[in-house]
Symmetry: C2
Subunit: 314 residues, 2 copies
């Protein structure tokens, strides 16, 4: 297994400069202790995914890149690939399930991508077919070293801005973000602890780390959580990284996630999606399971349905 | 008249480093044109006021500072002075009208300040009495060169992050923020235009600039706007700055402000107060009155009443 290195992440940081926002650390004074948020919700597409997608496309050869890219996703990864492709001026095809809400399809179309709507079961095969037919490169949402290295740039920024950080909280889904951030933190701040955070209803990674091997949960089970960005499972590659870089997993409930979306809006002045509030929820509701000290929680994204946001604030 | 200089603002920038957040410029891709927000709503107290308050306290002699400071305000300036005083470990007395909502009093008490509630008409005289009795220094909300220089650091950051900026939009109330930001922009980016933005219902500065002298509006008139942070009027000092540095004033309606609070939450993922949404409202609703080009609007603050936010999003 080839692990992503801090040098890969530093290279990625040079590439994404000027495209991804260098998000600040925001000290939160309304909670006890020394606690900061890193608001990836303020990236151009509203989520950290732009870091990995842009780095993966930047890492292609000129010839590959000019032919274009393809991705299958209905969420933040779709928008990230579409946005990054537009930045490079290259074609992008995004394959989405035909049940995808219109709003999400339009958000992807906005960046000039070609959107193909297919039955949900054919999503992956359709993407591979398009890839072969048109000579496009597939940009996966997490299972790729260049994607992991790109996501890791968020960890590098934390290490630069707060070298004396004690604890970093990062959400876990497919595991690319936690793999990259954990790799950067462990390289730059070897004494700091890195915790993954999962919804209880999509707690496959906690189960897998306990078992020492990947334990798969049925898709229908993982789909129960309100945190719709945290329903994927680690790949072999990301799981190997997580076993190396995570000091533990914190599990949060649906009510804790909802409460945190509300608190981050009213106290932190940030609009977050449920997946984005998951890591902060670990600090707000499970401080007793954490080592304490200077703690940073990453807000992974802010693409929340307007009605859900209004309901959570009412 | 002594004008604040770019050198004063650069000195202030050195002082506030590590206390005020260096807020990023956030490109907004959901509107036409090249448009960025500078989210001062993400400062520790939720507003730009920390810049001026901290700089003014930092500029005191050691002896003055140790005796402590006093301010009269029920809004973001109260919190800014209380917070800055705590950072220096010095006493702060905040004089507030006895009709101030409990939530705002508590927000100030949180930072360890002593809060004195007095009848609204006695607010200013009470502050001066406390100042004399206890040898405290009064930190005014805008009518002071050190406050103006501190607020100007936001403009300096814009010039550093986007040296090719064409247009800067900044809200105007007492005029300290617009004076400082305008001074910094005109010094660093002499070709850029700086526009003040006011609510139509508190449009005294537009009237004053047209008249070439300060035109006062009755307090009751200015109190009509939902933008409760924009109800003050410029002083002689700030008005002289505004005449020098502003290229014009854009006037926005109450509905445009409300619409912009909603849009910034749903599209920009930022929680803003009505005053904070006022400068962005000028870009969203009055682009035809602006010169165009690369435009930055400053979001001055995010301290919105939770019920108002929920209502605007529903």
């Amino acid at each position: 297994m080839d692990f992503v290195t801090i040098s890969d992440i530093e290279t990625a940081a040079g590439r994404i400069h000027g495209t991804a926002v260098r998000t600040p650390l925001l000290r939160q004074l309304w909670v006890p202790g020394e606690f900061w948020l890193k608001p990836e919700s303020l990236q151009p597409i509203g989520a950290f995914k732009i870091r990995g997608a842009y780095n993966a496309i930047a890492a292609l050869s000129d010839a590959e890149r000019e032919r274009g890219v393809v991705a299958y996703s209905s969420g933040n990864h779709a928008q990230a690939v579409a946005y990054a492709a537009r930045e490079f001026g290259i074609p992008a095809v995004i394959v989405v399930p035909d049940v995808t809400p219109r709003l999400k399809v339009e958000a992807t179309l906005r960046w000039g991508a070609e959107v193909r709507e297919v039955p949900i079961a054919e999503r992956e095969s359709a993407a591979y077919a398009i890839m072969r037919e048109r000579g496009l490169t597939l940009i996966p949402p997490f299972d790729h070293p260049d994607v992991i290295a790109g996501q890791g740039t968020a960890g590098l920024e934390i290490a630069e801005d707060l070298p004396e950080v004690d604890t970093v909280l990062v959400p876990v889904s497919g595991g690319g973000f936690a793999s990259g951030v954990g790799t950067a933190i462990k390289a730059k701040c070897p004494d700091a602890k890195v915790y993954g955070v999962e919804p209880e209803l999509a707690g496959d990674t906690a189960a897998s780390l306990r078992a020492g091997e990947r334990v798969s949960w049925p898709v229908a089970d993982r789909a129960r959580t309100i945190a719709d960005g945290l329903r994927a499972e680690p790949s072999e590659l990301t799981f190997a990284h997580l076993e190396r870089v995570l000091d533990g997993i914190i599990t949060v409930t649906e009510d804790e996630i909802r409460d945190t979306v509300r608190a981050l809006a009213l106290q932190g002045r940030l609009v977050t999606e449920p997946s984005g509030a998951t890591a902060p929820a670990a600090y707000l509701h499970h401080a007793d399971e954490l080592p304490g000290g200077r703690t940073v929680a990453i807000v992974s994204g802010g693409n929340i349905d307007p009605k859900m946001l209004a309901d959570l604030l009412a």
